[in-house]
């Protein structure tokens, strides 16, 4: 952008750009739905009914919205974790594992320690963050020390931790298994460590009064609020602090960062630790808010799906939140869609894949709908990531 552009035309330019930024994802979603409608129709089902079910299940009434928000929450945490890592040039495939570490540590603190309310909760969440952070720091440290590619080490650490956790609750000597039950699960955390439901009737301040939502009490937990706070924190961290600047500089070019006096190795470890910690908080929230114990089959897949969420969100916290809502809504809606119309849940995975594709390949969308607006210039974080992902090999 040249400096001689008048403020007014700049405003117009920005407006058009913003419009383009919103328009493209919407058109991408529409296009995906059209393609998927064809797939559903091929199987003999009615696509419109399927989509109605999807919509009803995601936003149809208050409960549906609440369900969507609950399902969105883990995607936000995992997406933010990936945002930090990708911005720092670390291709962290290990969010899945770090998420699990957060869950299991929070569970352990929740049932093994006896602490007063609130403090217990905070300690459990912090424990999850530290656990996830340490587990994430290992691949970062390995890369900084030996140059071991983080893609390999995070894939490996995922398998390792998943199997160790599987053992922790297994009958063949698993130390965290609840012996009082035939089921492979940990003991329940004490209620002092529960992440409570939001009591809307009590939110009644002069500047914000939510008591009219009193009937919604018991449908949303504070973890969702925490996720939004974390999104703000990640934004501030990455764009308003020196550490964030260092992380992003290393992400764009480790060599340049080194010349600029950044301790590249330390920043790599820090990036991975922060990313892992964010994932760990997400895992802790899931346990402390929803199940209150850890069992097999819990939370599977958030780490992997959130790679798509982070990319869809343009590696920006605000974008990540929106992308997470999209994924969460589809997860929530899929249940009702399948229940009412018999359209299999798998269709949602296809939609997610197509949306990701059309958003990323906005050229396709632009061509289909003959949109002339140039793609947003200046900040193209996504290509920067790719470059560093390649460099980091």
């Amino acid at each position: 952008m040249t400096t001689s552009v008048s403020p007014l035309s700049r405003l117009g330019h920005n407006l058009r750009q913003t419009l383009g930024n919103i328009l493209i994802p919407i058109l991408a979603i529409l296009t995906s739905l059209v393609v998927v409608a064809g797939v559903i129709a091929l199987s003999g089902a009615n696509p419109l009914e399927g989509f109605m079910g999807l919509w009803d299940g995601a936003f149809g009434d208050g409960d549906a919205v609440a369900n969507t928000i609950i399902k969105t929450t883990p995607y936000i945490f995992a997406g933010l974790a990936l945002t930090i890592a990708f911005r720092g040039g670390m291709f962290n495939i290990g969010v899945e594992g770090q998420f699990f570490v957060g869950s299991i540590i929070a569970t352990l603190i929740g049932y093994a320690l006896r602490l007063p309310p609130v403090i217990h909760l905070i300690v459990a969440i912090l424990g999850g963050a530290i656990g996830g952070g340490l587990w994430g720091a290992i691949p970062g440290w390995l890369k900084a020390r030996t140059g071991a590619n983080e893609v390999i080490t995070t894939i490996m650490t995922n398998y390792i931790i998943l199997r160790i956790i599987n053992w922790l609750i297994s009958p063949n000597g698993g130390p965290m298994r609840n012996p009082a039950r035939p089921l492979p699960q940990t003991p329940e955390v004490y209620p002092t460590a529960y992440l409570p439901w939001i009591d809307f009737s009590k939110i009644n301040f002069p500047w914000v009064n939510l008591s009219w939502l009193a009937s919604a009490t018991g449908s949303l937990h504070w973890g969702s609020i925490l996720a939004l706070i974390m999104a703000v924190i990640v934004f501030v961290l990455l764009w308003r602090t020196i550490l964030g600047f260092e992380i992003r500089t290393v992400g764009i070019s480790p060599t340049a960062a080194r010349y600029a006096g950044v301790n590249v190795e330390r920043t790599m470890v820090t990036t991975m630790a922060l990313s892992g910690a964010m994932a760990g908080i997400g895992g802790a929230v899931q346990v402390l808010a929803l199940t209150h114990y850890f069992s097999t089959g819990f939370n599977v897949g958030y780490g992997f799906d959130s790679i798509a969420v982070a990319m869809l969100g343009g590696l920006h916290p605000a974008g990540v939140v929106l992308a997470a809502v999209l994924f969460g809504a589809m997860d929530a809606g899929a249940t009702i869609m399948q229940m009412r119309t018999g359209v299999p849940i798998d269709i949602v995975t296809i939609i997610q894949g197509l949306v990701l594709m059309f958003v990323a390949a906005d050229l396709i969308v632009r061509q289909i709908y003959r949109i002339r607006v140039k793609p947003a210039d200046g900040t193209t974080p996504v290509s920067a990531t790719v470059q560093t992902a390649g460099e980091s090999g």
């Binding site: 797939v39 199987s43 291709f91 495939i93 390995l142 020390r145 030996t146 140059g147 071991a148 590619n149 893609v151 390999i152 080490t153 894939i155 490996m156 650490t157 398998y159 390792i160 199997r163 160790i164 599987n166 053992w167 297994s170 063949n172 000597g173 790679i307 798509a308 990319m311 299999p344 798998d346 269709i347 949602v348 995975t349 296809i350 939609i351 997610q352 894949g353 197509l354 990701l356 594709m357 990323a360 390949a361 050229l363 396709i364 996504v382 290509s383 990531t385 790719v386 470059q387 992902a389 390649g390 460099e391 980091s392 090999g393």
Partner: protein
């Protein structure tokens, strides 16, 4: 109990387990050497497995099924190439798109069309026992009594190595991946080379996916790749983007996985086996390192370290074979992490090696 039969069984199985992983790694080598990052190997394999099942059932011929699977793999990789090159999509996103779509489409199609029909697979390809060679003691049963795709995998490793490093075509491919601008200047068509290389890789991923159906299982199951495509990615990087490196890495991985299962069967003392085998591994690795050091005339310090590793390994191996260990059952979940731990250990033990192709992931635009 750790006799000849024990090693023959493990090594033969290691080759079988290494086959889809190595093939997947070759896929990565083709596309990444030309500058296209491919994290969609998993999805490509899955679609290929699905297609090879359908085609083999419809044609009632496993070889036709294999062909179908390979073509499907090629098509999926073409999508990756079109997205990455034509539409300049971030290549990691493009790979994720492929993985998501592959899972969604194969699950959906299996559920809607296959599960309701009760169609059955038509078996697997029979073993090819190579005459004469199969009778060589020890080596015969390890190497020459496999199903055909295992041999194909060997062939492709050799072929890929030759093509990549000894032909003009390979040189051009690598040039495109390392320095597209320079390649363009000397008249190498950058993007067509990338298309070709990625699609060839896709055909090989198709073979990897078909392996699961036409050799390993005989039918398609949802999500049956269970992460092998990601392991392939790791193996490719581990092998430093070289075919033989990938094969060795995949074999190491396959051996460790086979060992994990073998130790679970309960007739061998777990601790003893691990001490003994670790010793053997150190002895082998140390000796090889020492020989290379001498050949390459490395500094004395490096030779001494290698020698000490080898000697420690020898002692451990002897101890493992002679001492009596208390009967210990290691939880099978821990035996199951052997391949992953081993990969990390070996990886971090290696010196900083070759990096990824320099222009990997960067869209090339003519100026």
């Amino acid at each position: 109990m750790m006799d000849e039969k024990f090693f023959i069984g493990l090594l033969a199985l290691a080759f079988v387990k290494a086959t889809p992983i190595t093939l997947g790694a070759l896929t990565g080598i083709y596309s990444e050497r030309s500058g296209i990052i491919n994290i969609g190997i998993e999805g490509t394999m899955l679609v290929a497995a699905f297609t090879s099942f359908i085609v083999s059932v419809v044609s009632q011929n496993l070889w036709v099924g294999l062909l179908g699977g390979m073509l499907a793999g090629g098509l999926v990789s073409l999508l990756l190439a079109v997205l990455s090159i034509r539409y300049k999509v971030n290549q990691i996103i493009a790979g994720m798109v492929i993985n998501l779509l592959a899972i969604g489409v194969t699950n959906y199609a299996t559920r809607v069309y296959i599960d309701t029909s009760g169609i059955a697979g038509i078996g697997v390809l029979p073993k090819w026992r190579i005459p004469l060679l199969m009778d060589i003691p020890i080596l015969g049963p390890i190497l020459f009594q496999h199903q055909p795709l295992v041999y194909f995998m060997f062939g492709l490793v050799v072929l890929t190595h030759y093509v990549m490093f000894y032909t003009p075509w390979g040189l051009r491919t690598r040039a495109v991946g390392e320095h597209p601008r320079a390649a363009d200047t000397v008249g190498i068509p950058v993007n067509p080379m990338r298309y070709a290389s990625t699609v060839i890789g896709g055909l090989i991923a198709g073979m990897a996916g078909s392996f699961l159906v036409v050799e390993a299982v005989g039918s398609f199951q949802k999500m049956m790749t269970t992460g092998r495509g990601f392991i392939a990615l790791a193996v490719m990087i581990f092998g430093r983007w070289n075919p033989f490196g990938a094969l060795v890495a995949a074999l190491l991985f396959g051996f460790a996985e086979a060992l994990g299962v073998r130790l679970q069967l309960g007739d061998i003392n777990n601790i003893q086996a691990l001490v003994y085998l670790t010793g053997l591994g150190m002895l082998l690795g140390g000796t090889i390192q020492m020989i290379t050091d001498f050949v390459k005339k490395k500094e004395t310090r490096s030779k001494i370290i290698a020698g000490m590793v080898a000697i420690t390994g020898l002692i451990a191996a002897i101890l493992g074979q002679t001492l009596t260990f208390p009967p210990t059952v290691i939880p099978f979940q821990f035996l199951g992490i052997l391949p992953y731990v081993l990969t990390i250990l070996v990886l971090t033990g290696m010196v900083r090696g070759a990096a990824a192709p320099a222009a990997e992931g960067v869209v090339y635009e003519k100026q």
